[in-house]
Symmetry: C2
Subunit: 440 residues, 2 copies
């Protein structure tokens, strides 16, 4: 067996996949998301990206973080750089309980599991609950990263409609009934009650009680994903579903938007028996989450007015939301419609009839504006007429410029559409019955 | 739906698992490892723990790390705290290629995927390749954390014997033939060629070529797990399997032992098509590995004589290995036997006939010494007469004291055994045919 040089390695390995018939069945479901394919284009500086969901962390006090981190290394380096508990740092889990208390959640640190971002929490919950063919009920539309996890575990997603007040209780009832009538097993409802990604709406207080009641009666676990909960534009955070139901809800939280995503620190709060399984799953997946990241987050929470910082983030994001909504009001054709978020990062926009957001994307990128087509947020091909617009990262000026470019593209599309119709245009004609048109 | 107080939450949630009939089939395979149950006991200061595999990082220069980290925050904080690429930091992937070159591996950074410790790499490789019922061939014994992953993916482990020169080629041939004759599908060979955990042996150079040849002929992928590769006590690192076979080997590495485990930075080097699947799996599992951790590791490699530090680690571990081997020579009864590692952290000890390491453990812990019973390292109940002794963490003095205590327990057991025989003693009588008795 002779040594293979690097050139040869590259040549032989890039051409074909000799393992193609050996992958697990689940690997068929792992495909590059529409968002991912966009990133390389959207990150070019001349493009106004309304596509990404990156938080704007330029306001973070680097001096405070730098000091917290060097103190951590000096005073606790040997612990911070060592293996830790599979469940996560005990002090951080106490602080996480303090954070959740702001949304009405009373919990014990022993029921918290720290995860590598809340993405990993979605993965671990799905791992312990879902066999191939099991059903998870999701809002329509739903978070692209969660849909990717469900696909990777060969889960069948059943969507339930939303409107401007969030998940529609009757749609949830129907989804449960239809799924059970089809003889399928529902493992949980995956829901983002606050400042929904991508829909930009929040579940109303009345509906929170109703959704909890429906799931309790139907004996369905709720996976409450809440990365944006403290980034509301109102006076008080919305009350978490978990605040009113401890046994039937797994709550997921994250420091990615209230502090910074680069540490990858999220968590799951789960009923005690489920928490035990999550710890075993975490140990199998990573042995333990990174001690160093956790202790940096803990030191930051301890040493800084982090709630003051979150207030600054909220004001910054509100200004950007206002810029986006004003630009849409000023420039969009009257047949387009969109949601009005009361927090978070996203507006869901529905195009005039006859247009297709996915088909239009290359022309938009040519016009130097990017967004995510609505189909990315559906497991079933719906959403073609819609798109997600993110206002979190670009400045208000850039947002207005982005909308100006987007409107230019839409008007050209409308003109083409009125002249030639949709016949023969790739992608057009799918998804018009999408429930997302009810969102606005 | 009324608010539930924290007291009530705890009471209702700790008693029973109302979700017991809802978990996925794979969750049955997630059980607390024998090592894990030990940790709470073994970490008491009065116990000499020869159980854990924690590296001794007390020699790390905290001033260097502290300075690297605060410079990182000051100069690159906005990037280090932001989301990164799912594949991992490009600069770090270049440095990883430099590290692997020390073991003869020529690779391109584009074929490296950064993982949350190499544990996550085992998880992701298994995720993309293994359906329930698929077979992975493992050495006997094998790494407990990998066996846990295989169990969690409902993989059937088939063990192949080792001796003092590592995996026995004929045993590998037989395992392949027997598995295929039984109509089962082999997805890969999982092997730790260097300073094996737990066996403490290394694959000889002649056998490396032979194992590669067997797997090439049988068209079987090799998963080469190499966390200890740079911690050998000889002059030069062993040559990696991957150095002589690029297309048939996935190589896993880690900074947990050469730098520090608390950052959880490991990696997989894979054939290009497999690497693409691994990135998709990583994005689904965590979106991306922690940017901050990666950039700290990168800055440490850049700013410090890390190879000089590894040399110091090697000398420290060699001194501890010598202390353990000398103590075993001096004190162990002649009917016990053990392996002589040329690197890494572990010695595999086989007890005199008639003794059972698992049954003996409570008595050992009472005598204030801890080890991991051999059964933890087998998927099939073998290993009862053996144990793993770790010399990585305790000082040489503590190691000698630990062996003294252990020998006291063994001698008492031998006396009991000679007086009463093994009849009726719990656990005794299993595993005597274990292949591990060939290891010594």
């Amino acid at each position: 067996m002779s040594e293979t040089g690097p050139g040869q390695v590259r040549r032989s390995s890039t051409r074909l996949d000799s393992y193609v018939d050996r992958y697990a069945a689940r690997t068929q479901g792992m495909t590059a998301s529409e968002i991912r394919a966009l990133f390389s284009v959207a990150s070019r500086p001349e493009v106004v990206s309304l596509a990404g969901g990156m938080p704007n962390i330029s306001g973070l006090p680097l001096d405070v973080v730098g000091k917290a981190v060097s103190t951590l290394v000096r005073d606790h380096g040997a612990v911070a750089m060592q293996y830790g508990s599979g469940q996560g740092d005990p002090r951080l889990r106490e602080q996480i309980c303090d954070v959740m208390r702001l949304e009405g959640v009373e919990a014990h640190p022993d029921d918290v599991v720290v995860t590598v971002g809340s993405q990993q929490a979605v993965d671990l919950v799905t791992r312990i609950f879902c066999d191939p063919g099991d059903v998870v009920i999701c809002e329509a539309p739903s978070y692209v990263g969660a849909l990717g996890v469900f696909r990777a575990y060969e889960v069948d997603v059943v969507h339930a409609e939303m409107d401007r007040h969030g998940l529609v209780p009757d749609a949830l009832r129907q989804a449960i009934a239809a799924t059970r009538a089809a003889g399928k097993r529902i493992k949980f409802l995956y829901t983002i009650p606050n400042y929904h990604n991508p829909a930009g709406v929040s579940l109303s207080p009345e509906r929170r009680a109703e959704v909890l009641e429906i799931c309790r009666e139907a004996d369905i676990l709720i996976l409450e994903d809440n990365p944006y909960g403290l980034l509301g534009f109102g006076d008080e955070p919305h009350r978490a579903l978990r605040a009113d139901e401890a046994e039937g809800v797994i709550y997921l939280g994250s420091f990615s938007k209230t502090f910074a995503p680069g540490f990858r620190v999220g968590w799951a709060l789960a009923p005690h028996a489920v928490r035990e399984k999550l710890v075993l799953a975490q140990e199998s997946a990573t042995l333990c989450p990174p001690s160093f990241s956790q202790m940096v987050v803990s030191a930051y929470l301890e040493s800084h007015d982090w709630q003051g910082q979150v207030k600054e983030f909220r004001e910054m994001y509100r200004e950007r939301r206002d810029a986006l909504l004003e630009a849409l009001e000023d420039m969009m054709p009257p047949t387009a419609s969109w949601t009005v978020p009361d927090g978070g990062f996203y507006v869901w926009l529905t195009l005039p009839e006859g247009l297709d957001a996915k088909a239009m994307l290359p022309r938009a990128v040519t016009a130097r504006v990017a967004y995510v087509p609505g189909t990315a947020f559906y497991a079933d091909g719906f959403g073609a007429r819609s798109m997600r617009l993110s206002y979190c990262y670009p400045t208000p000026e850039r947002i207005r410029e982005g909308v100006r470019r987007l409107v230019g593209v839409i008007e050209e599309e409308l003109e083409l559409h009125q002249t030639f119709g949709t016949a023969g245009r790739p992608g057009v004609g799918r998804g018009y019955e999408s429930p997302n048109t009810d969102l606005t």
